[in-house]
Subunit: 352 residues, 2 copies
DNA sequence: TTGTATGCGTTATCAT
DNA sequence: ATGATAACGCATACAA
């Protein structure tokens, strides 16, 4: 095993001073060619690498980004991390991940753990509990310490910082408009409780689309799901709720689910009821994840461009970190995209 | 904005020396109660937190774990990270993630970035390219520097270190045995190329099960998939290959896919051919991910306990990091579990 | 009871 | 052309 090399060791080994070695390593013209060569060869042989901790201490920069997310076993967040990693790596930044499991406490603890100088800035998507309780003292604490924050997706107005968001309202409208365009008259909405921005905004988009097309909003056709865990029971209860709505409104001809799971669940329920998708019923989901791709029929869905969001978040943070001037805070809106697959009719029903 | 607090500032502010402040903060009996109170109150008010970088430099420990994985948008790896996070957090460790995208170069670069003192140890699952090229110099370099490595899932004999592996061979055998038990006579195997341990071992398990049950191995019934990306074309080509095998062997009554995607793809193909699953054909997959849960019928699958693997990997690494003595290297085998859902018949066909 | 000095590894400023 | 010294923030052995 090779010993860890430090400037000190190289210096004493070569009979030079630490500062000479340091300069020689950077090929400083001050140092004689001979010594430069000697030092560099020695360093290379022993695989010398400057200790990044010492550098961090000296430079007061860690070149590390802290990423706080509610869940990692989740297609969208995983994609975002992917994008962050990509940009961060290309700029020689490391990425520390903290998972909150949708808990306010864990969010606060996770961030606490990192504000002791471990990271230069945060990229965060808030936990459900944080949004529900509207408790942001941990975020304010971060800002007091002048540590930059970039929020994405699950953002909040009370904190002033850079934000990257999906235009959820427009996305919802676009999806429902598509359903209307292909002839749907009675569209079931599967959404979340209102405290989740994403659900609320997509729901508003749903209403917008109905409005524009002169379709009356019917509360019966909206299912708001509180919590949906992995468990089979919760899954089944959602199926039950969908089934009940269908019992009462058998003429539903379109479904919009604000995430993949809702949409795929609806797809399965519809098929169990013997409804032909997409001929009798069209379905659109949200988040272009693995479920949408492998569902049968393949699910038409709104893509959120998670990777791109990650890239942009990292880029925004690093820009702020590295620019001298004070940059103004920005809110960047990422356009969504409707990915047409097989769960929506390709041609409108000809009505007359 | 509160200024960053340091011992130095507290000391000068309170007219004490740095070391007095340092001791007072740890409630050292050496220091007068009066000063202890004063310092602690002051520190609390200004929200003082010892700078972790300075501590790392002093202690030569970063309390940070580097995790290197091939992919993050992947259920199994995400689960493993979850498990690592859980244990790491509870022990006050941070987790830095590096994603290799299955590339040897990125694996080496990612690890290079971290061996400059940023982390205390690695947890890694090797990239496909690394396994294919069998190039481990970057790993040896790590070991030269005496940085502990824990490998999981995609491990390799040439590197001596702690390992956490799934008993893939046994798991494969168990799955196929289940198919045999419920009466399958002709079982199609969807597997990877042999250079991936996981595919090779599961394939061996398949053969084991056939052997034990006196069923002849038939090469026709084995589809080895080289690379399968996300793209629709690749997806379709797999479907084509499966279809061709079915054309030649319409009496296939069981399918074992070494991952979720293969199994779900097979499920879809079977259904397109009008085969009733599970009555005419039973299917078993691998990795208990989201696809298995939402596929119709719900997919019977081998669960790898990714979360548990992550927990164990982190625990093993931290143990080695914190114990004084030299621990012997261990290889821990995680048992898999067959999760019976609806893609397998519940009762054997009565043959006579 | 308090304070001084040293070292962790590096870079930069300022002698020599 | 080379080297001594200080500083980053902290802990600690040792002095006072």
């Amino acid at each position: 095993m090779k010993p860890k090399m430090t400037l000190k060791k190289i210096a004493s080994e070569l009979g030079l001073s630490i500062s000479t070695v340091s300069k020689a390593l950077k090929d400083d013209k001050d140092i004689s060619q001979e010594n430069r060569d000697k030092v560099q060869a020695f360093a290379k042989f022993y695989n010398y690498r400057p200790n990044s901790i010492a550098l961090s201490l000296k430079n007061k920069k860690t070149k590390t980004i802290g990423v706080i997310i509610p869940e990692i076993v989740h297609h969208f967040f995983a994609k975002v991390i992917s994008g962050i990693e990509e940009v961060a790596n290309s700029k020689e930044y490391n990425v520390i991940i903290g998972v909150t499991n949708e808990s306010l406490d864990k969010e606060a603890i996770n961030m606490e753990m990192l504000i002791d100088g471990s990271i230069d800035g945060f990229i965060i998507s808030l936990s459900k509990e944080t949004l529900l309780k509207q408790n942001y003292i941990h975020l304010q604490e971060i800002q007091n310490r002048n540590i930059p924050i970039v929020m994405f997706d699950r953002v909040v107005d009370d904190i002033v910082c850079d934000k990257i968001i999906v235009d959820d309202r427009e996305a919802g409208q676009m999806a429902v408009q598509k359903l209307v365009d292909i002839g749907c008259k009675k569209i079931l909405l599967l959404t979340t409780m209102d405290y989740l921005n994403i659900g609320r905004l997509r729901t508003e988009g749903y209403k917008d689309a109905l409005d524009i097309n002169g379709i009356e909003y019917n509360e019966d056709l909206v299912i708001k799901i509180g919590e949906l865990g992995d468990s089979d029971e919760e899954q089944r209860s959602l199926e039950d709720r969908i089934n009940k709505v269908f019992d009462k409104h058998p003429d539903i001809d379109g479904i919009f689910g604000v995430n993949e799971i809702y949409a795929v669940t609806a797809l399965n329920v519809a098929r169990m009821r013997g409804l032909n998708v997409p001929d009798a019923l069209s379905v659109i989901g949200f988040s272009d994840g693995i479920l949408s791709k492998y569902a049968r029929p393949h699910l038409t869905t709104v893509s959120q461009h998670g990777f791109q969001i990650g890239e942009l978040a990292a880029q925004t943070l690093i820009d702020r970190l590295e620019k001298e001037e004070e940059l103004p805070f920005t809110t960047q809106l990422i356009k969504t995209e409707l990915i047409i697959r097989d769960s929506t009719r390709s041609t409108p029903i000809l009505s007359k």
